[in-house]
Symmetry: C2
Subunit: 286 residues, 2 copies
């Protein structure tokens, strides 16, 4: 996601510094048009930082860790925080940024790597009006749809966690239904053809079931996203004493897929867990 | 569903006899244009019977019970069997009809009461080519989309059970996500506005979440459908040794709703189970 977003920022005419723990990715980005000077040297000149990391721990490290960026930024610049994190954690990050005179836009992203590369992401954004204003040039470059969810950091993350709950469950139950259908003589291709036109369809079914039908598990979005994101959902649900049994059942399937060594495959590979348990052979499998 | 389908058959120019255990419904249908003569007297002249009942037991009773219709029908007439039933049971019913020289079309329906009244249902149909041919005048009157799923009764029911698995889970997880969102400060109306445009959406979310937002539980499709249909799914899954944990988790929610006295409300009322457990107040509740 991050690479595509960086490319979208380049295309919009920004000077962009790419930072990644993988030096090969940084070099690739420099060849693709990114800036070559050392990032730390120019931190004080940046208008914004787009943090596309995996989780809350990484976000805190990037912003406030040993080499954290926030203390080096100039007054009035803005952090766009894109990972899926607990809403309370977003509030904390915003507060700590404000102490440095830095705006913080809580802006989880949705849409996948293809939309990231096309500058067509959906943002679930919340933050002060000043944060929105400071973030506008970057928001415009990376997104097609922006939901403005209020003035308080955390509201964007709350909506994202709701979306992830549904998206994760819909992928896992698509796999459950597709493989259940196979036990009843319903071929995966016929499943996709019929169900995508019926009341049982979902955005995720239409997006992910083709991967299973084609036997192609190239990771557009990997299995390993879901144990992480659904754990966040359950963690913040638990804090409110909220029981989410369907989410739990879906999480178990993604955990099983991850533990079975499928973590880096496309998340549609959760179907392999169902297929193996039931002795079914999915398309493209030997 | 049945009433709307009978009206669609009338509108298409058929002579239609309405049969229901509720005499008031029969009288209403007669006033609306249905035939007045006693059904049993003309059974031998019918070209087809459309059986819109609740389950396998009712279907068997209507077709082969004490006052069963099949033995009274003329050779070559057709039964359209619309309830959600196990595929193996559909095969049995077809075989028994054939012994009487009667065609059997396994044709579960999808779309809800509004589409039934408009003659716009989706049919998941399977049966011999002769069954399809005999059923064509009735199929044309009641449906907008027909999936022809092969020559063997049971294939239609198999696809329907796959669709019901997904539809039931999608309703329950919509309720789980909507109420979870409320614990995070996401209002139901905002949930619907945002999520329906994101990767977390589903056909059922877009159809049912508005009922919760409006606090309107008029039963377009009632809670009580789901314990029945999801039990059928699990029953036929169990026969194949197939484990469906997400379906089970959704079934538990519908059972809880049914046991809490919500069985005759719209199936979106499953959200009330989540709301009560979490101490949340849904729109329209005191």
């Amino acid at each position: 996601m991050g690479y595509g977003m960086a490319m979208s920022l380049l295309k919009a005419g920004h000077l962009v510094w790419g930072v990644d723990i993988n030096p090969a990715q940084v070099e690739r980005f420099q060849r693709d048009g990114g800036q070559h000077t050392a990032f730390v040297d120019i931190a004080g000149e940046l208008d914004g930082v787009v943090a596309v990391v995996l989780n809350a721990g990484q976000l805190e490290s990037v912003l406030f860790g040993e080499n954290g960026i926030v203390s080096k930024l100039k007054n009035g610049s803005v952090v766009l925080a894109c990972p899926t994190i607990p809403p309370d954690f977003a509030k904390q990050m915003a507060k700590r940024c404000e102490e440095f005179g830095i705006h913080y836009l809580d802006t989880p992203i949705s849409g996948g790597s293809k939309k990231a590369a096309a500058g067509q992401l959906t943002l679930m954004a919340s933050g002060t009006p000043a944060s929105f204003e400071a973030a506008t040039p970057f928001v415009d470059a990376i997104s097609e749809t922006v939901f403005r969810l209020g003035d308080i950091a955390g509201a964007g993350s709350a909506m994202k966690s709701v979306n992830q709950l549904l998206a994760g469950v819909h992928i896992a139950v698509m796999a459950e239904a597709l493989t259940f259908g196979m036990t009843q003589g319903v071929e995966p291709a016929k499943f996709l053809e019929v169900i995508s036109k019926c009341a049982g369809t979902s955005w995720m079914l239409e997006n992910r079931a083709p991967h299973i039908v084609d036997g192609d598990y190239t990771p557009h979005s990997s299995v390993n996203i879901w144990p992480k994101d659904l754990e966040i959902v359950l963690e913040i649900a638990n804090k409110e004493g909220f029981d989410a049994p369907i989410t739990k059942a879906a999480l178990d399937q993604f955990k099983a897929a991850s533990e079975a060594g499928l973590g880096l495959e496309d998340d549609a590979a959760v179907a392999k867990i169902y297929a193996r348990k039931a002795g079914l052979t999915l398309p493209g499998e030997a």
